[in-house]
């Protein structure tokens, strides 16, 4: 677009359009165009998004495994814990009957917040307009 020759073209004006034209020909396509064209850079953009989202999911699942899925092993190794009472309720019933449910919601809420933030970052990265 800046290739249009300026008709009156005074000397100073040529100097101004010079860098302008060079910038527009060297302009990098935005990230979305890299992804659409299947370039190496596009693959890096996509790879980083997929890796970030997968790592986030695995972190949440790790917390789930340590905090909830470990309980059978814990009670297998220390069966006396089943007799412990908190507020009159046996510990296993309190943990697995009540407390696990708000805990799952907290994990889900943290995941949704982080996943959406990572998607916003990705969108900002690949839609950045070169200037």
């Amino acid at each position: 677009m800046s290739d249009r020759p300026a008709e009156p073209a005074p000397v100073e004006r040529v100097r101004v359009t010079g860098p302008d034209r060079r910038r527009s020909t060297v302009t990098h396509p935005t990230g979305t165009r890299e992804i659409d064209a299947g370039t190496q850079l596009g693959a890096i953009y996509m790879g980083s998004l997929v890796r970030d989202q997968l790592l986030l999911a695995l972190r949440i699942l790790f917390v789930l495994a340590v905090s909830v899925a470990s309980l059978p092993l814990v009670f297998h190794l220390w069966p006396d814990l089943a007799g412990v009472r908190v507020l009159g309720v046996p510990l296993p019933w309190l943990l697995l009957g009540v407390l696990v449910h708000p805990w799952l919601i907290v994990l889900g809420w943290v995941y949704v917040r982080r996943a959406e933030a990572q998607e916003r970052d990705f969108a900002a990265l690949v839609e950045e307009v070169e200037r």
């Binding site: 789930l64 909830v68 069966p79 919601i105 949704v112 839609e127």
Partner: protein
């Protein structure tokens, strides 16, 4: 008085309740029909369902007879290790949320076979997936129909075939007339009905319990209470294996259930799919706090149900056992309504999912130069989806409700879970790898299901390994899929990169999604 043939007044609340739920379901279904005009409405409600409504519908569809009746009964008899059923059924949604929800919605496919074909570009993978969806759907529908028969027999003394026929007929009428759009309203209504039907009686019963001086449930029913509070199976290493295998089946199986997955396509976009799932976690948590209350009260007030082997009717009978008179009758009517809603909603969801697959892959095909239109094919598919398990349920009554549902989870975890996880997160998956993994996981868990249904042995390692197969069949499926994919790595579909872009980029980003 309502039913002159049967002067027994105790059946009146049950009849009124079943009648109310049936009529309400049909009325809401018909009302939803006004919004249901296109084939897209039938399959996915044209993808415009908001997270709140969609989450209620998912909750309504997911909380089946096993949740409403089975869990309380299992907890009453076996104690805290059975808490892993409701915990696993809820945590399965967290696993689904973090690994599958948004990419699955973004894949833009209608059903699991659609996803597999779009991802791998193979008709053969599609055929295997369709077969599995139909088998899992039928395996899950069977106990719903049988549970309905048990409930109607207990509540109103109906002959055992009547419950099966009523549920099958109402489901068929609703599904084939309104499809996904109308069933969304029906199922959302049924979630709140089920929650109310457990919550209100529980509040009354807790007041009675407190009035009796709050006797301790873990000390009631013949002492020996240590095991009742231990959250793991009996028998040392075998008990540990059974518990962890159950955790694997439920945590991983939820994402592979056909009626769960089909709901995700009704979300407007991937972000809504995530938010819907988060709301589902809350709705399921609110519901699953209640069955342990019934089990604990049952220890005190209904220990005779354990001895009689009728623990499945605990929720239905507890109100009358604790509260004689009109209050008890009204509460009995309420829990009966909730139980009936549980059969109807889960069966409807399964029928929709199976009908969707059948209509795309079987009834929508060309037969002798004639081809059914989209909606007509869906209706014929719905009839097939409902009639086959209905006939089986009438033919062989008495397969354990919770057991069959648990096995359906194990098959789903061994087949669709590896396919979804690897398909979404690993570029290297090939069609040959997917087929091999689906067959290994499906045949492995399927043999275990067949063996478990025909025998009654529950001791010894063979019975333990086959009775709860997920802990070995899921890894077997995953490993097979990965190894065969690596061996055929020159046949990774050419469009894999483009499909990954579609699965993982947010809809707001303007990229080519293939």
């Amino acid at each position: 008085m309502i039913h002159p043939v049967s002067p027994d007044l105790t059946t009146v609340p049950g009849i009124v309740a079943v009648g109310f739920v049936t009529i309400a379901t049909l009325v809401i279904g018909t009302w939803g029909l006004r919004f249901s005009r296109t084939t897209s409405d039938f399959f996915v409600a044209s993808r415009t369902v908001r997270p709140g409504l969609n989450a209620s519908a998912i909750g309504g569809e997911y909380l089946s007879a096993a949740s409403f009746l089975g869990v309380a009964g299992l907890l009453l008899v076996f104690g805290a290790d059975m808490l892993w059923y409701p915990v696993g059924w809820t945590a399965g949604y967290l696993v689904l949320l973090v690994l599958v929800a948004a990419p699955l919605r973004r894949s833009g496919a209608y059903t699991l076979p659609d996803f597999a074909e779009a991802r791998l570009g193979s008709r053969r993978v599609r055929a295997v997936c369709s077969l599995l969806v139909v088998l899992i759907g039928w395996l899950y529908l069977l106990p719903q129909f049988q549970g309905a028969s048990v409930t109607l027999t207990a509540a109103i003394g109906a002959p055992s075939w009547l419950g099966v026929v009523i549920v099958a007929a109402v489901v068929l009428a609703n599904v084939s007339s309104g499809g996904m759009r109308s069933i969304t309203f029906v199922q959302a209504f049924q979630y709140w009905l089920k929650l109310t039907a457990l919550l209100v009686p529980a509040a009354f019963l807790l007041v009675v319990w407190a009035g009796d001086g709050a006797p301790d449930p873990s000390l009631a029913a013949g002492g020996g209470s240590g095991g009742w509070s231990l959250p793991l199976g009996a028998g040392g290493a075998q008990g540990l294996y059974v518990t962890y295998s159950l955790i694997a089946a439920t945590f991983l199986g939820t994402m592979g259930l056909p009626h769960v997955v089909v709901r995700f396509y009704t979300n407007p976009d991937g972000r809504a799919a995530r938010r819907t799932t988060l709301v589902v976690l809350g709705l399921l948590g609110a519901f699953y706090v209640l069955p342990p209350v019934y089990a604990a009260l049952g220890r005190v007030y209904a220990p005779e149900l354990i001895a009689a082997g009728r623990s499945d009717v605990l929720v239905l009978e507890l109100p009358r056992l604790m509260l004689p008179g009109l209050t008890g009758d009204l509460l009995t009517g309420l829990v009966t309504a909730g139980a009936f809603a549980a059969f109807l909603s889960t069966s409807s969801g399964l029928a929709i999912a199976v009908a969707g697959v059948l209509s795309q892959d079987v009834t929508g095909r060309r037969f002798g130069g004639r081809r059914l239109g989209g909606v007509a094919a869906f209706r014929v598919g719905a009839a097939l989806a409902v009639v086959v398990p209905c006939v089986v349920a009438l033919g062989i009554p008495g397969v354990g409700v919770a057991r069959t549902v648990g096995l359906a989870f194990a098959v789903a975890a061994s087949t669709f879970c590896p396919l979804l996880l690897l398909g979404i997160w690993w570029r290297g998956l090939t069609a040959a790898g997917a087929v091999a993994g689906l067959l290994v996981g499906g045949v492995g868990s399927g043999v275990a299901v067949g063996w478990t249904l025909v025998t009654s042995a529950t001791t010894g390692w063979t019975a333990v390994l086959l009775g709860q197969p997920a802990a070995w069949s899921v890894p077997a499926g995953v490993v097979t899929m990965v190894v065969v994919s690596l061996l055929t790595r020159d046949r990774v579909p050419a469009h894999t990169s483009r499909f990954m872009v579609r699965l993982h980029t947010p809809e707001s980003v303007g990229v080519d999604r293939g």
